[in-house]
Symmetry: C2
DNA sequence: AAGAAAACTTAATGTAGATTAAGAATGAAT
DNA sequence: ATTCATTCTTAATCTACATTAAGTTTTCTT
């Protein structure tokens, strides 16, 4: 069970004292997920906030034809949550599963909200974390509108070089928004990168 | 100058005391923007956080052909910011301008950060605000991947009925990610809604 | 090591939406 | 009220990517 990754992630933005750290750690739960194991199923209520410590999780939605559309990958050090379900208690729209054998730690919503209340520095961390996530979403939204698939692929390789090395090609295709067939064709019929 | 909209927005999530309110209000700036006036130009540094009090602002990016791609509309009660530029001080990628004659209030970054530090309840408000924004971005990302233009248009009408009434059609087209020509054709050749 | 499943590749055909072009209608400026 | 600019409409043609289908390769399971 590796909490040091979480503590060092938080320490990038705020400095918790020993007591605050202990309190935070006391609210953490640890879990393993086997490759392909569902961590959150659409339709369930997503009442936890997940931090990945090993392996890789992904969140995705499934369309009416059964095609998966990846929203996010979460390698170690990343948070992942169906945010609307978390906030409102609505059934989740996203599935979260493990691309590889994975480990993660998580807070239940009640604990997480209490922690924010009692440790304002943690709330600060989450405010900043949220801003970073918004910045990323804003960029991705615009990139999807402006750039063609090839450019989106190149951007992905540049932004996430370690992910490209390990992720199956079809997952990358799903993330950038094209079919596996098209990505394959694109990569093999033209000069890339 | 209408701060009551801002105060009531904040009061939905946190209760500030009189002193905290006064402090917050002392950091606010007010501005008007004429129709089509730029509030933020791409390339500049976006070091302020804007809250719209009248009219409607929009943020958009311009592609290499000069085509505009709307990221967000901000009618009264909405916040709008190029978040990456705000966080990192990089040149803004987004433009923000006024669709109609508008009024807005804003914080400078230094003031905003200080306010968050000195009024933890305000930071709490921003943490929650950020979560709501993330939820919206997550949904929009998935909608864009899954739904066709017609469905995206219908969703927009449902989510933002007052915006549909006043927004020019080409702006809506840009927001849902199609050309004005295609939206026009779509709306006029089939049964809608 | 063998067999099954999954991922990747390849190619032909189809399609949602873009592009190009231009006319009609509406809104803004004077 | 008139003129100009902008927005919307219409239609033909084009295109980036999807769909369908099937073969090959790789990975997983036993």
């Amino acid at each position: 069970m590796d909490n040091s990754l979480l503590l060092s992630s938080i320490a990038k933005y705020v400095t918790l004292d020993e007591q605050e750290e202990q309190y935070l750690l006391s609210l953490l739960h640890y879990k393993k997920a086997k490759r392909k194991q569902l961590v959150l199923e659409e339709g369930d209520i997503s009442s936890k906030v997940i931090f990945v410590t090993a392996g890789c999780l992904r969140s995705y939605a499934v369309d009416k034809n059964g095609t998966e559309h990846v929203l996010q990958f979460a390698p170690p050090g990343w948070w992942i949550v169906d945010m609307r379900s978390y906030i409102t208690g609505e059934p989740a729209r996203l599935n979260i599963d493990a691309i590889d054998d994975s480990e993660y730690i998580f807070f239940n919503k009640i604990d997480f909200e209490e922690l924010n209340l009692k440790v304002p520095k943690f709330e600060r961390f989450n405010r900043i974390l949220g801003q970073n996530a918004i910045a990323t979403y804003q960029h991705r939204q615009i990139d999807n509108a402006i750039f063609a698939a090839m450019e989106r692929y190149a951007n992905f390789c540049q932004l996430y070089p370690s992910l490209i090395k390990t992720l199956p090609q079809k997952q990358v295709a799903s993330y950038i928004g094209v079919t596996p067939e098209f990505l394959s064709k694109m990569l093999n019929t033209q000069i890339v990168k």
